[in-house]
């Protein structure tokens, strides 16, 4: 097995991108003390419009402001990359809309039920050496491998 068979499109940009993602999470922690998982914003933002007690919990209401700012930063960072480094060619995907919508629904439901996603359990949870997060990562990696390969077989 060679490096180019594992990484047919090169490996440097993956490592660089990963380090930058980590640097963003690290910067948030060093400057503000906050733990920057990304899925909570999808619950905390509903607290602006849904009165239900679940959404009005302090952990959502107290963090909903900065979480939206953090999300805006995400868009800003991608915009800088797009205009400054990618020539401003609009990104698009061949994944069908229904797959994005249905898959997205399970991503949102599952991440919030399980209290974390690829960044919450993956980056922050593993970064703080938490065993429950490692188990969560192994669980979602396993079901993701299974689903992606079954989908490739049946839907393609």
């Amino acid at each position: 097995m060679t490096l180019s068979s594992l990484f047919p499109h090169g490996w440097q940009h993956y490592l660089l991108g990963g380090v930058l993602i980590g640097a963003g999470t690290a910067l948030l922690f060093v400057l503000t003390g906050r733990i920057g998982g990304m899925s909570t914003v999808f619950s905390s933002s509903w607290s602006f419009v849904v009165r239900r007690a679940f959404f009005q919990q302090a952990r959502f209401v107290d963090s909903r402001g900065w979480r939206l700012v953090y999300a805006a930063g995400l868009i800003l960072g991608a915009l800088v990359w797009w205009l400054g480094f990618a020539g401003g060619v609009r990104e698009a995907t061949a994944v069908p809309a229904w797959q994005l919508l249905v898959g997205g629904f399970f991503v949102g439901y599952g991440a919030r039920l399980g209290n974390g996603c690829t960044s919450g359990h993956g980056i922050c949870g593993l970064g703080s050496l938490q065993l429950p997060s490692l188990l969560a990562v192994l669980t979602f990696m396993a079901t993701a491998f299974l689903t992606a390969n079954l989908a490739a077989r049946w839907l393609a």
Partner: protein
């Protein structure tokens, strides 16, 4: 620094941290569902380097920052977010993986891709927001 000044500085710091995160997601190709799916199909292992690089930086920072600094530069204390292993975490993670495997989009890239003009991913963003809503409506509060 005055109260309002500190609030503004914290917001700008949060925006900058998010921007770095979003820039990294873009550089690494994670805002392209095809790149994520090619990892899940075992044809390109780049995602392991993305996760590995990010975890390493965060691991060092979470360990070292509280030892070197009494408090965050613009905050009053370093927060922690303990995770628990229970039925909800297990079922939630499993369902998250099913969705991720189906669409190749997770919450960070769904947001960031808007900055790269990828309107297709608005479908995924809407799905995630709906999923989070339904989860909250079904949860015992």
């Amino acid at each position: 620094m005055s109260g309002a000044g500190l609030m503004l500085a914290r917001s700008l710091a949060t925006l900058a941290a998010g921007a770095l995160f979003g820039f990294g997601l873009s550089v690494s190709g994670m805002i392209r569902p095809e790149v994520v799916l090619s990892f899940l199909h075992f044809s390109d292992f780049g995602l392991m380097l993305v996760m590995g690089g990010a975890v390493l930086v965060v691991l060092l920072t979470y360990k070292l920052a509280p030892r070197l600094l009494a408090r965050p530069l613009l905050g009053d204390h370093f927060q922690a977010h303990p995770s628990a292993w229970n039925r909800d975490t297990a079922v939630g993670a499993a369902l998250f993986g099913v969705g991720w495997g189906l669409c190749g989009v997770c919450p960070g890239p769904a947001i960031a891709s808007l900055g790269a003009g990828n309107w297709d991913l608005l479908w995924a963003l809407a799905g995630i927001a709906l999923g989070a809503l339904v989860q909250g409506l079904r949860a015992r509060a």
